[in-house]
């Protein structure tokens, strides 16, 4: 018998599903911390790449809070990663819709995350971001889920509610489009 309360490091080896189950017990805090530890960076990257500005922080925070409240109510979770990204995706859509209805304020500079790179790479990343912004959301989110969140095509398909081949096509198309935008520049860097 252990007298001390479990910490999230005690739960490292537990499955996502088991952690979700623990969210309804007195080990909820440790379980949530472990879930956050596993997915925070990926969800944050997704929000940041899809929304690009201070809205990303709001959506990121809201994603985890809503997830917690959803599971707390007893919702059974079979695909934690998918659920988190679906929440994030829906919140991003909502945010974009509300953004289109309001006057845009200047984008706030963020201290985090910081991506400092060598001159060429920094410029290339800036161009990729610019090209991403020019993509349709369907291609953009498939690209982000694949490249920034490291999802397999199967996971992307589950998250976006499409077939695996559609997920593949969206990622390839996104890359082709980005490549077309970047072509004149990538030649220079090469």
């Amino acid at each position: 018998m252990t007298l001390r309360r479990k910490t999230h490091s005690d739960l490292r080896k537990h499955s996502d599903e088991h952690l979700c189950g623990l969210l309804q017990t007195n080990e909820a805090e440790a379980a949530f911390t472990e879930i956050f530890d596993r997915y925070a960076v990926r969800i944050h990257a997704y929000c940041y790449k899809i929304l690009k500005n201070e809205d990303a922080e709001d959506v990121f925070q809201d994603t985890f809070v809503r997830f917690h409240r959803t599971v707390e109510k007893g919702t059974e979770v079979t695909n934690l990663s998918g659920l988190l990204f679906k929440i994030a995706k829906n919140l991003c859509i909502n945010k974009k819709q509300s953004r289109s209805r309001r006057v845009m304020l200047p984008i706030q500079d963020y201290d985090f995350p910081v991506e400092a790179h060598s001159g060429d790479k920094k410029e290339l990343l800036g161009l990729i971001d610019m090209a991403l912004d020019m993509l349709d959301d369907t291609y953009k989110e498939a690209f982000v889920l694949r490249e920034y969140d490291g999802m397999s095509f199967k996971e992307i398909a589950e998250t976006l509610d499409v077939t695996v081949s559609t997920a593949k096509i969206r990622v390839f198309r996104a890359k082709q489009k980005i490549r077309k935008v970047l072509a004149p520049y990538t030649r220079e860097f090469a």
Partner: protein, 423 residues
Amino acid sequence: MSYQEKLYEFLEQELPVEQENELFTELASNAELRSEMKDVLSMNRAVASDARAFTVPVGSVKSVFSTLGYMAPAAVGAGAATGFLAFVKSGYGVAAASLLSALVTTGVFFGLGGVIPSSDTTEPEVAVPVIAERFEPIEMDMVLLPAPEPPKANAAVQSGVFNQHTQTRERVGANADGLGLANDAVTQDKQPDMHQGIHNNGVVGTNLPPAKRNVVESSYSYAIEPVHAMSVTDSRSIDVFSSGKARPESAPLYSLPGSFFPSPDYFVVEVRQMTTWSMDNPDVSPAANAGPANFAVSLGIPTAKESRVVLDFGRESYYMNFTQHLNNGGSVTHRKNPLMWWGGVGYRHIFNPDGVVQPFTQAVIGAAEAGPMGRLMAGAEVSLSTSIKLFGAVEGSSMFYSLDGTNYLSSNLGVVYGLSLNL
């Protein structure tokens, strides 16, 4: 499927092996396809390094956890945090360095303790152990004896802290023969057993002017026979030390014949909580550095009434902003606020050791997980009883660390508060 699609599938490791040769053959003869492959590879590399550079802002983490009523974790993102700490540690062997640093500096301090005379050698009144004479001077009916002589077998006088329990006064004189103790200063207590077993090292009569003092000390313990205890003419508590062996007034409080370590009468254990502000990035503090995760434990070894050597260790968040150069020529700037273990050895000087409020300053050198560090503290202790104190202080600390040939400094300023116990 076009060759372009095959190329993308190949780069995604999704192309069946049996179709690879066909693609390679086409690549060998199709310059446009080769160019496209180079572009996509270049893009993939850039995106991969961009993805690795992502971290979650501390403020966002705290916001999520506080909304849910949880305590925010010290580091965010298992992979990111673990990788980061592993990166720092692997470069410097910091854990080993911290331990080595603490051991070396501890050894230096104790070594010097045996070599450098205590400050009380010229001023006997300074040689009063810390817990003695805590209260107002007490009028004592004291007669001083001439120069000290070796003790007789049964001449030991008890030491320790005791309270006066009786005003029954009976002159005793026989107990302190040869000790140079002020026999007349004591009266017989009707509860003699209460003083048994308390050991030596100390002084008596220090409330008198220096010239009239008679300081005794022993550097070793020996069996103490039951003797009549002392009481004084004042009913307040008093700390009295004694021994069976006289000590010249010029002798240091801690003489260490045959012993490397001093044997103080007591140790001070402090537990303190810290709330710190990063001097390098106000965004991550003070909220990021508050809470029970930031704490310190200190072992104090008194070297004189107003000074002690301290061995400190604890955990504290240090904001780190450094650039990591990648093998592919790029670089990533990390901004983290990891919670790190630190340890060190230092010195505390107490300015008013007899007062209820005792201002002090403390300096500590040591190492945190990422590099060497120094700490300065100024504050005050408040005596609640003879063995318990509350204290509060302002503390500044700086940690040096070096990565990829570049040196960095991270500084915190904060408030500390806690409890100290004399054990």
